[in-house]
Amino acid sequence: MRRTVPRGTLRKIIKKHKPHLRLAANTDLLVHLSFLLFLHRLAEEARTNAFENKSKIIKPEHTIAAAKVILKKSRG
């Protein structure tokens, strides 16, 4: 049961970081898409880390290690 994309919130966030920047019509949807894929990659990496630690639960340390890698990868 997916919810609707928080388009307004996305716009506000980008405005907060870059107030002078404008967004075209449906660009925030694509931004949301990229965000989803980012989370997807993060989840996969975290899951891999947890499996390597023989843990069936995602722990913060797994997530942190995964975040370091994926954030670097997600740089434009």
Binding site: L10, H17, L30, E44, P60, S74
Partner: protein, 608 residues
């Protein structure tokens, strides 16, 4: 023998099933579980009766010896005798095993016994020949029954409840017991405290580690030296009132006592204070060392301690739950007074002055802010302060005071000190021992330096706690308290602040998406990290998008920019076009918006 009976039983082929059951001792035992032994006996009797021609109520009883009905009396008797012996032996054994089952058939047994007896009585007159047998029967029956009865009676007794002894509760005695318990508990606690304090006192704490290790409690009652053991309570009450009230009525020597006590006590107290920092402790150690050095300087040193201790005590008292600490501090004071009577005079003289000096010292280090803090903390003592307030300014006049705000703090601290040393101030003023004070200034400088620090930390702690909730509230009732607050908070900000909250992606959405992708349980802390990562991510991409649009000479981010971003991220490749991703991950409504669909009539939606 058994076989004979068994044969008989089988030969009989009795119509009733009960007959068929009986063929061996084992079977008899089984049957016994279902049927009372007595019934078997009665059955035999019945058989005899039948033989005799009289019908008895026993006939309906299941009897194992119905097969004997047709047998001749003599044969039957003989067989029965033999079988009886066998019966008895196995009877006794299985009876023990099947004690529990007897319950079911208890009634039956009883009835059967009585009826059997009746039948037996009846039989007696009829069958003289069988009299012996009957007697034996009865005997055997009784034996078996008796053995059976034993467990019954035992069982009965077990079920029977012991006569309940309803004693009326003596309320008075109960309450007395409760009070005693409370007293005992209190005494124990107090004894424990005393013991611990005494123990710590005996082991001279020299190192910081020791101090830290020993004082692990939040509100540790001040631990004294060896003097703290005895009869503190009566002294406690006295010293407590004297310390808190700070009345001039107190005798001077008592003040001296307190001073002397303070020096020793407060050092220990400080150690126990949770706010005490290591520097403080080292300074106290240093001071302790000084006190130990020469008796000549002892008075001064004590005063140093007292100086430092007084403000410290005041602060500590104000900050902590004053009751217990003061209580014990007073106890310690009373204890130390006994030892330091000789030095009281000297200490008294310099106490006030030293206190004044120290007051200067303490604010000098901290500055105005600390002075204000001091104001806050000793407010309670200030209110309590009475006449001695006049003395402190006079004593300060003797000294060379520093900045003006220092004076304020000094006054306050002086008043605080007044709480513990009241009558002494008068005498102290007269003798201005500037030399001593100078010396002590140097010594106490370092020490007093620390006091404002920890007080600073302590005093500031409650403030941050108070301030954050204010901006959160948006109700208009904030108006009245606002002018009082140091930070000016305009009325409109209350309502406006709610809207100006930082925009963030809903954490629930993040949780939902992440858990869907990860497919395994995730801890709550991990979710927090994911949220932080997403914030960082948005920051990153916003700057990237800005760079791309700027590179293209635009001020607006377009779809091409975002596609370029995804390509650079490695999400969109030659093998994976954007549209595929859109179709995979976005709901249908959005897909329609993003991907142009060609429909009939040469239309393309959305129109390009």
């Amino acid at each position: 023998m058994d076989g004979r009976v068994g044969l008989r039983a089988s030969r009989r082929a009795a119509p009733t099933p009960r007959v068929a059951v009986r063929s061996s001792p084992r079977q008899r035992a089984r049957v016994r579980e279902q049927e009372p032994v007595v019934s078997a006996m009665s059955g035999s009797g019945l058989g005899k009766e039948n033989k005799a021609g009289s019908s008895t109520p026993l006939r309906h009883r299941p009897n194992a010896f119905s097969e004997l009905d047709n047998a001749t009396p003599r044969v039957m008797l003989v067989e029965w005798k033999c079988s009886k012996v066998e019966l008895q032996l196995p009877d006794l054994v299985p009876e023990d095993a099947s004690v529990t089952t007897f319950r079911m058939t208890r009634k039956r047994k009883k009835l059967s016994i009585s009826e059997f007896e009746r039948a037996a009585d009846k039989r007696l007159p009829q069958n003289q020949a069988h009299s012996t047998l009957d007697s034996t029967l009865v005997r055997s029956l009784r034996m078996s029954v008796g053995s059976v009865m034993a467990p019954d009676t035992v069982e009965k007794r077990g079920l029977l409840r012991r006569p309940q002894n309803h004693k009326a509760i003596d309320i008075a005695a109960f309450e007395g017991g409760v009070e005693q318990n409370m007293l005992q508990i209190k005494a124990q606690d107090y004894l424990v405290d005393l013991q611990t304090s005494s123990m710590t006192g005996t082991t001279t704490i020299r190192t910081d580690a020791e101090v830290v290790l020993n004082n692990t409690e939040l509100f540790v009652e001040p631990q004294l030296g060896e003097q703290n053991l005895l009869a503190v309570e009566p002294q406690l009450s006295d010293s407590k009132t004297s310390a808190q009230r700070s009345n001039t009525s107190y005798p001077a020597h008592e003040k001296a006592r307190l001073e002397g006590l303070v020096s020793r006590v407060s050092t220990d107290e400080r150690r126990t204070l949770r706010f005490s920092e290591k520097d403080l402790i080292t300074d106290h150690e240093h001071v302790d060392g000084i006190t130990q050095k020469t008796p000549a300087k002892e008075g001064e040193d004590e005063q140093d301690h007292s100086q430092q201790n007084d403000p410290m005590e005041q602060f500590s008292e104000s900050e902590e739950m004053a009751g217990t600490t003061e209580h014990h501090a007073d106890a310690e004071y009373s204890e130390h007074s006994e030892k330091k009577l000789s030095r009281k005079a000297v200490s008294q003289l310099t106490a006030a002055q030293d206190a004044g000096v120290e007051m200067e010292m303490t604010p000098s280090e901290g500055g105005v802010a600390e002075g204000t803090e001091h104001q806050d903390s000793p407010k309670a003592e200030l209110q309590m302060a009475g006449s001695p307030g006049g003395h402190s300014p006079a004593s300060y006049s003797l000294k060379k005071s520093g900045a003006k705000p220092l004076k304020e703090a000094v006054e306050q601290t002086g008043e605080i000190e007044r709480g513990t040393i009241t009558g002494v101030l008068d005498a102290a003023e007269e003798e201005a021992t500037d030399d001593e004070s100078d010396i002590e200034d140097h010594e106490s400088e370092e020490i007093s330096m620390k006091t404002p620090m920890f007080v600073h930390a302590a005093a500031y702690r409650p403030h941050p706690v108070l301030s954050p909730p204010h901006p959160v509230k948006s109700a208009s009732p904030e108006l009245p308290p606002q002018p009082v607050r140091a930070k000016p908070v305009p009325k409109s900000s209350g309502a406006a602040q709610r809207k100006t909250r930082e925009p963030e992606i809903a954490s629930s959405l993040i949780k939902q998406i992440f858990s869907h992708y990860v497919k395994t349980p995730v801890t709550r802390d991990a979710y927090k990290i994911v949220e932080k990562c997403s914030e960082r991510y948005f920051k990153q991409i916003s700057s990237d998008l800005e760079a791309y649009s700027q590179h293209a000479g635009r001020k607006t981010v377009e779809m091409a920019d975002v596609e370029l971003l995804m390509r650079r991220q490695g999400l969109v490749t030659d093998k994976m076009p954007l549209h595929v991703l859109v179709e995979r991950h976005l709901p249908l409504e959005y897909r329609k918006l993003l991907i142009p669909i060609a429909v009939s009539g040469n239309k393309v939606i959305p129109c390009k």
